[in-house]
């Protein structure tokens, strides 16, 4: 179980997260939605211990990782995988070396066994033939799939996904979505996904958390979210341009902004 409790984070005067509270159950898929710039990525970075919140706790089975730093975080990080939005593959290493890197770093396995494991992970994302290429020689979508293979390299208990299907063609997006569902159902991996893809979430999520203006607007199963009478929630899931959520992010009045020197 992962619990975010009363997470607060500000950048300068801008409050990004203001009292986020939710639980991601073990062996379940939790989707986190929110408007662009609404603090989803910040929350994800806090959950993986990359940045510290100004206040609050992130509990992994009752251990608060916010209080840990540097090497104290390593035992937790070995149990987690992270798929970055743009892959974040190491450009100087081949695809195979990228996937094999965490295995080589954290195990004493022989290179021949590492190679077999790399092939298995790459086969999982359908890219076994690309092992020898550099990340720059494959498409963005493929890079994301390789990054997923790398995130799974050490058979993690939890995998975090940052926009796993953005920028992918519909077929690859569906494949990734199915992979997330399979990882959870077949291997029992806890998945926490930050995304804009509502349809995908409604299809496979066990729980959905909607962030709005730094707070949790709603949370629950897809059915509960669908049945919500809150117009903000309804606008989120229908993606309607008309509704209480404004497209404009500016806080200052437009007329006033134009007329003041």
């Amino acid at each position: 179980m992962i619990r975010a409790h009363d997470i607060k984070k500000t950048y300068g005067d801008r409050v990004v997260l203001n009292g986020i509270d939710f639980i991601a159950e073990r062996k379940k898929i939790t989707y986190i939605f929110g408007t662009s710039g609404g603090g989803k990525s910040t929350l994800l970075k806090i959950l993986i211990g990359a940045i510290k919140p100004d206040a609050g706790e992130v509990l992994y089975n009752d251990a608060d990782i916010v209080k840990l730093s540097g090497r104290e975080l390593d035992p937790f990080r070995r149990k987690m995988g992270m798929l970055f939005q743009h892959g974040a593959l190491l450009n100087s290493l081949s695809i195979g070396d990228n996937v094999g890197l965490p295995i080589k770093e954290h195990t004493e396995l022989d290179d021949s066994i590492v190679n077999i494991m790399v092939k298995m992970k790459l086969e999982l994302v359908g890219l076994r033939d690309f092992e020898g290429l550099l990340p720059g020689q494959i498409s963005g979508g493929m890079q994301k799939r390789v990054a997923l293979a790398r995130a799974l390299a050490l058979d993690p208990e939890v995998v975090f996904f940052d926009e796993p299907t953005s920028g992918l063609d519909p077929i690859v997006a569906s494949v990734i979505t199915k992979l997330i569902a399979d990882l959870n159902k077949l291997l029992g991996i806890t998945c926490i996904v930050v995304t804009h893809a509502v349809d995908e979430a409604m299809r496979i999520a066990d729980k959905i958390v909607i962030l709005y203006r730094g707070t949790v607007l709603a949370q629950g199963s897809p059915q509960e979210i669908k049945a919500s009478s809150n117009p903000l929630v309804q606008q989120f899931i229908t993606g309607s341009p008309d509704g209480p959520i404004s497209f404009h992010a500016s806080s200052k009045d437009f007329r006033e902004d134009l007329l003041t020197k």
Binding site: L73, R77, H86, A88, L89, E105
Partner: protein
């Protein structure tokens, strides 16, 4: 005036912050270097020889060319004066001392700071921007061990070797010019050179080179690791890396020259 005081104060505080961060980075680099050097598997993974090759071999043509030209330039400069008093035979001694004690280590370090230190910053800074360093951290891989240590060991081995070669190349350039254009007899040149060259000149140059290599790699990597934002900040950090390592090299050089020969 108030603004000026504020600016100077802010800059000084930032300088102290950078200095303390570089100290912590250096300490962590030494600790992680020990981890790598003591572990056979990690040593192999770090591909240290590739780093020595990249830093040393690839800098060699530039360093040797500049050194040879430096030796010739020094010879030309002083020959004007010494010719007047019939002291051309002092040229070998002067060039040897100047090159091994001062010019060789300094020029080589400045070339490597511009070529290699800037590349360290740009490379690591780009990795920071594309979240590769964050990816390493989430995989519980120490970025200092993965990115800084191999460069640290590589440059600490490569720069003294380059400095030594630069010294001999500069003297050789001077020897060729002196013997072909100034009429200094080759055997006289060799004898004069060996007469003045002390063991201390060689080891002081090596110590300087080791200190300079630490300065280059620490500033280069630190500036890369603190990049925030995008391409613009990578460029700014790279520029700052070259400027600050150039300044630091010259400052350390002055202090060490004074310590060895003052």
């Amino acid at each position: 005036m108030k603004n000026l005081v504020g600016y100077v104060g802010r800059t000084f505080i930032l300088f102290l912050r950078d200095l303390s961060s570089i100290y912590y980075l250096f300490r962590e680099t030494l600790a992680q270097s020990a981890v790598i050097l003591l572990n056979r598997k990690k040593r192999r993974q770090a591909r240290l020889l590739e780093q020595v090759d990249e830093i040393g071999t690839l800098s060699l043509p530039l360093v040797l060319t500049v050194s040879a030209l430096l030796g010739i330039a020094l010879t030309v400069l002083i020959s004007f004066q010494l010719k007047e008093i019939g002291g051309l035979n002092y040229i070998p001694g002067f060039v040897t001392v100047a090159v091994f004690r001062e010019m060789g280590p300094l020029i080589t370090a400045l070339i490597v700071a511009g070529r290699v230190g800037a590349a360290f910053t740009a490379r690591i800074g780009t990795m920071k921007v594309s979240e590769e360093i964050l990816a390493l951290e989430t995989m519980a891989i120490n970025p200092v061990r993965f990115l800084v240590v191999q460069r640290f060991i590589g440059i600490v081995l490569a720069l003294p070797a380059l400095t030594m070669l630069a010294g001999f190349t500069a003297v050789f350039g001077s020897f060729l010019f002196g013997s072909t254009r100034l009429g200094i007899r080759p055997d006289t040149y060799m004898r004069e050179m060996l007469d003045v060259l002390l063991f201390k000149d060689l080891y002081s140059g090596m110590i300087k080179a080791i200190v300079f290599s630490v300065v280059i790699v620490m500033i280069g990597c630190y500036r890369g690791l603190v990049v925030e934002g995008g391409a613009e900040d990578v460029g700014r950090s790279t520029m700052l890396s070259v400027v600050s390592s150039t300044l630091a090299i010259i400052m350390f050089d002055t202090v060490m020259t004074a310590a060895f020969y003052g």
